[in-house]
Symmetry: C2
Subunit: 247 residues, 2 copies
């Protein structure tokens, strides 16, 4: 496998390394794929985002697989509504990754969940995919992990599934949930009160489930009506409207 078919021909230096964007799944280390595990175990250079210099969730998932001698590139990504600070962090990370690739080393970039599903690797991919060989290793998303832990099938047969980010305005969430079948609301965090009011207004509270840190030891799975007042960033609401439609 080389660059994905549709991104055009690889035009960079032939002896440069390959950049791997590796999905790690929702958090439990054994929900890493065999392919991702092998890549990490053999890596010379590992890159990952950290929260403003603090801990890296991605690194923590893969910690037991990272070789002790690997060079680590930590990208300190600030959590802010403004985009410029994060862009600068990805610019800096990309330049460090480029230095390793140009020296002929492969780089394994770690990403919680899946790299192309709200994943930080997209920002690195956008900067480097036309200059270097890139392979993306898909991972288990938090969506299906939350469904598994809640015991809630998401979609069967000809059902639709809508994935909505929690930061959307209340009016938009209201309209989109009203027209949907199964709904997954990502990035709940500080938007929990707003989202809960929308779902209550739609009369769907009894069908909504709250999941926090799915597959981790601190996991919580609760009916939305019993959810805590404060939700972490890694929390989700699942909503299915059918009457056992999978039977």
């Amino acid at each position: 496998m080389s660059n994905p078919t549709l991104r055009g021909e690889f035009t960079g230096q032939d002896d440069a390394g390959t950049l791997f964007g590796v999905g790690l799944g929702p958090g439990a280390p054994d929900l890493i794929t065999l392919r991702a595990a092998r890549l990490i175990e053999r890596a010379d250079v590992i890159a990952y985002p950290t929260l403003a210099g603090g801990a890296s969730f991605a690194r923590s998932i893969a910690a037991d697989l990272i070789p002790s001698g690997a060079l680590e590139i930590a990208m300190d990504v600030p959590m802010s509504v403004e985009r410029a600070p994060a862009q600068a962090a990805y610019d800096k990370g990309a330049s460090q990754i480029v230095a390793a690739l140009k020296s002929g080393q492969d780089v394994v970039c770690l990403c919680e969940g899946d790299p192309f599903f709200y994943g930080s690797f997209m920002y690195i991919f956008a900067r480097l995919s036309n200059r270097f060989r890139v392979e993306v290793v898909p991972g288990v998303t938090s969506v299906t992990a939350c469904a598994a832990r809640a015991g809630m099938p998401l979609a069967a047969r000809n059902e639709r599934l809508s994935v909505l980010p929690g930061p959307l305005p209340a009016e938009e969430l209201h309209a989109r949930i009203a027209g949907a079948e199964s709904v997954v609301i990502m990035k709940v965090g500080r938007h929990l009160t707003k989202i809960r009011a929308v779902i209550d207004d739609l009369g769907l509270m009894e069908r909504a489930v709250y999941v926090e840190r799915a597959t981790l030891p601190q996991e919580k799975v609760l009916p939305l009506k019993d959810a805590p007042q404060e939700a972490p960033y890694f929390s989700m609401i699942l909503l299915t409207k059918g009457a056992d439609p999978w039977l």
Copy 2:
């Protein structure tokens, strides 16, 4: 982990086995998770769907991991628009699984992709989850696998993602794609001509990518306008409308 929190207490026989619904990912054997691989390697009883007595895609993904002595329960699920024949097949499969569970054996039920995302395991889960301990192991879905292979990030920041089944009527597909951001159309198969006409009519042909058998040796990734006239069941169309919104 025992039964998911929200399915009520387990009330079955205490010495019965546990049913594992195991997602295998999109097709490449090394996109199986570490957890799924370990469960399969240690399984005494393996269950999986087959297409009307023919091959089992799920079994083929996991073939190298299945112990030679394992008892195998093949569920011959007919491909038909009517639901009764498939329901009968799942009834029969469930009764064979029940026999093994009651004898104290664990059963690993294989499922391509993710068990709760258009997965056959949902039908077994619906029949048995209130009578036996059930654990669902999420898998990599074809959605993110196709995106990885196409080099197409699906959703970033506050973008929405709509998953639509290809068998939906043309009018409904038209309306839902028109109102969407990123779109994934599943189960394209014999609906390809209809879907292509809808996307063409919306002026979105240049943004649509066709992916068939993602991550398998026979994989195809093509602009939708160059897709073949006939598509297999395991094919998908990805459509992103933003102008590099992830930068």
